[in-house]
């Protein structure tokens, strides 16, 4: 029997209906990543599961109990259904240890001494033993989120709902939080994770929900969804994740804007920081310095994409005008930099168009 069954779930707000019709089953031990464009009801679905949002209609069964029923003691259900929030939501007036102990002591009637030992054990697990007596505002974002996870586990829940657990974090702190979640997955914890970290989703989950058009648009194994999505919108979403097309129409284009697009692209795909920096540098030297300064080269099409086969990134630059290879013929210093950073650089010219292909790793 599945742990959670969602039937005909619908959530309406005045003027907008994020969830039109959702049906799903979640089994024990499932690790499900919920992905999709923003505004498609991913967080709403999670919040409807533990009833922080009241569904407009539909039923949620948890362990065989209808928890959307009017007479259901939802607070009792929530004890078995942990939740980790995007904004951590630690209790600001309590220490780290007290944050973790509060619910077991107050709600489960655990002895304070026992709860304390358990809390310390959990802190050791998330690597924050030495922060036990700190207050939340003395912690970094990543540390706060790890405490929040420990707080959720302390209730020994049957499932944990993660609502974009790394979206509010600096890129440098994402890793430590994902590491903790990976650990839970290994232990067999049932989890639903709303996330934009695609590589993580692919690695950690056994199932993916792609949400769009007010429901679970497509679901499948990570291999199916990321490798071979069946439906149109999923395909576009997955593809867009891996490709960044940029069109440059004149020499006064928004260079800073494009750079930050490149940076976000790297972040979304969890590329190493060094690689992201190199991509930005190559773009600057080749496109900005090399090509955009010349006459008759517009429009320039730049396509940056993740390789299908390995972890490399390919930047394809396509522009009209006479034959010109900025790496071979351009400014010497620029050329030297690009050659040093790139794995390979190829230039072709046919039918009045230059095609430059740079591979970075």
């Amino acid at each position: 029997m599945s742990l959670i069954r969602i039937e005909h779930l619908r959530k309406e707000y005045p003027g907008v209906t994020p969830l039109k019709y959702v049906n799903a089953e979640i089994g024990r031990g499932d690790v499900i990543s919920v992905i999709g464009p923003s505004g498609t009801g991913k967080s709403t679905l999670l919040r409807c599961l533990n009833q922080l949002e009241k569904p407009t209609s539909g039923t949620v069964w948890f362990d065989g109990v209808d928890i959307t029923a009017r007479d259901c003691r939802i607070d009792m259900v929530r004890r078995k259904m942990g939740m980790v929030f995007q904004s951590f939501n630690l209790f600001a007036n309590l220490t780290v240890l007290e944050n973790i102990m509060a619910a077991p002591v107050r709600l489960l009637g655990m002895q304070p001494q026992e709860a304390r030992e358990e809390a310390l054990r959990l802190l050791r697990k998330v690597g924050l033993t030495e922060k036990a007596d700190s207050f939340p505002d003395e912690l970094s974002g990543g540390q706060k989120q790890r405490v929040a996870i420990a707080r959720a586990i302390a209730m020994k829940p049957e499932v944990i709902l993660f609502d974009e657990p790394t979206s509010a974090l600096d890129p440098t702190m994402v890793g430590e939080v994902l590491q903790v979640i990976r650990g839970l997955a290994r232990e067999g914890m049932t989890m639903l994770i709303v996330t934009h970290e695609m590589k993580f989703a692919r690695d950690v989950s056994n199932r993916i929900f792609y949400m769009d058009e007010g429901g679970i648009y497509e679901e499948g194994t990570p291999e199916q969804i990321f490798g071979n999505p069946a439906r149109e919108k999923t395909r576009i979403f997955i593809k867009r994740l891996k490709q960044l097309p940029v069109l440059i129409e004149n020499a006064d284009f928004d260079f800073i804007g494009v750079s930050s697009q490149l940076e976000n692209f790297g972040k979304d795909n969890m590329l190493p920081r060094r690689l992201v920096r190199n991509i930005m540098l190559v773009f600057e030297e080749v496109v900005m310095q090399g090509i955009a300064g010349r006459e008759g080269v517009f429009p320039i099409h730049v396509m940056t994409e993740l390789s299908e086969t390995d972890d490399s990134v390919v930047m394809k630059v396509d522009y009209p005008g006479g034959r010109f290879d900025p790496v071979a013929k351009g400014d010497e210093l620029s050329s030297a930099i690009v050659r040093k950073l790139a794995v390979s650089v190829k230039h072709q010219y046919d039918e009045g168009r230059n095609r430059l292909c740079i591979v970075l790793r």
């Binding site: 009792m76 929530r78 942990g82 939740m83 929030f85 007036n93 309590l94 220490t95 709600l107 207050f135």
Partner: protein, 523 residues
Amino acid sequence: MKKLKRTDYFIIAALALMLALFLPAMVAGGGEEESAPDSAAKVTYEDFNGRKIGILTGTNMEAESFRYFPDSEYLYFDGYPNLNAALLTGKIDAYLGDEPALKSIHAEQPDIDYIRERLTNNQYSFAFRKNEKKEKHLRDQLNEFLAKCREDGTLNEIDAIWFGVDDSRKVVDMKGLTGKNGTIHVVTTSTDEPFSYIKDGRHVGYDIDVTVRFCRAYGYKLEIGDVDFAARIPALASGKYEFTTSMNVTPEREEAVLFSDPVSEGGIVVAARTKEIAGGSPTGTQKPGFFEGVRQSFVKNFIRENRYRLIVKGIGVTCLITLLSVIAGSLLAFLICLFRRTDSVLAGRICNLYVRLLQGTPMVVLLMILYYVIFARSGMAALWVAVIGFSLNFAAYASEILRSGIESIDGGQREAALALGFTENQAFFRFVFPQAVLRQLPVYRGEIITLLKGTSVVGYIAIQDLTKMSDIIRSRTDEAFFPLIVTAVIYFLLAYLITVILQMIWRAVDPRMKQKRKGGAAR
């Protein structure tokens, strides 16, 4: 020790300069007059026409002033002490007063005198609430009593005591009030020497003496209320009191109250600075040196007649009202906060209306409405009326403070608590509410201090708090400097005390402070 910066020296020098300039001026009370009038010419009221005239609010002196000084500018004051201070500091040049009152003012404060010639001859009568059987009966009893006293010479004897110079005889014997025929409530103005004032902490004066003798003769117990002149007739109308002490009988007043036969006689006279009245006796005595002056002034205002006891009593009343109002007001604010938490739209609206209404009503007006209208017939003591008024007012502000505190705690913590399995109420009381309170403590403290200072208006409803006590002292000593400065300093110290106490409470409840202490002990 840290070295003082140049700016510090500048500030110290500026403070010292200010003190040096203002202190003597304040203690001496009043500016120097440029020229003393020609002593040969006899001064009459006409010499003051066109100059600034002070009017005792709520008396028939207003109409008389318009009559005698048609070209003057008028300023209104409550009570003789304020008039005298204004006169001595040159804010006004003259005022009209009752002769007996001015006689005692002149005795206490030789710099003020009055023109001996009366403008009018007046009879002062006690005034009773009109159209009430009980009060009419009481009035008839008083008339009967007055007639008897006039006959057997008692009234002359009382006259000799209170309008005379022998201070040792000026005591009222309060014994023998059996109350076998009930209690009567008299409202008076205790800054009206020699008719009604406070001496050795007790109500005394000509009117009080007459009233007490009357009560003794007719078997009543006596309760005395104390308000400003202007509030006496409204106080009667409210039904809290059966009668009030001496008033000038005027046709207008006769429409509102029932007068007794004359209790005493006198007249309206013009009061002015002694040096401007040629006919008045000169100040004569040499002015004492600065420090001697301060010492004498201090002794006069606080030591003589144990007047410091009035101050102590006043502090007690002020603190009591503040303390009770803070407690009751905070509880009420908490209640409002609970009401607002319910889903009921109506409850929320009512709470909002309550808060807007009370924030929009001046405290004095609210107090007087409560005292003279709402609780007029309840017989509730003025102190409790004040506590109710200030509690209602404080609750309005405190509930707003609480609300903004609750709103400042982000909703995420509430959701986190719910997600762990706490109920809405547990989430609120265990996590949101304590943080809201802690965060708003500094604002709350400010509100308490505002309340403390706000209680200084309770004199309007016959409560003798710190401010009223300093008024009473001023009415006896006719000096403004010491009573006012000392009152200000006491309020400041009380406010400081509140700050210190709340700081201690804060330390005790703030989890961070607790942890620091724990950490300190461990080390």
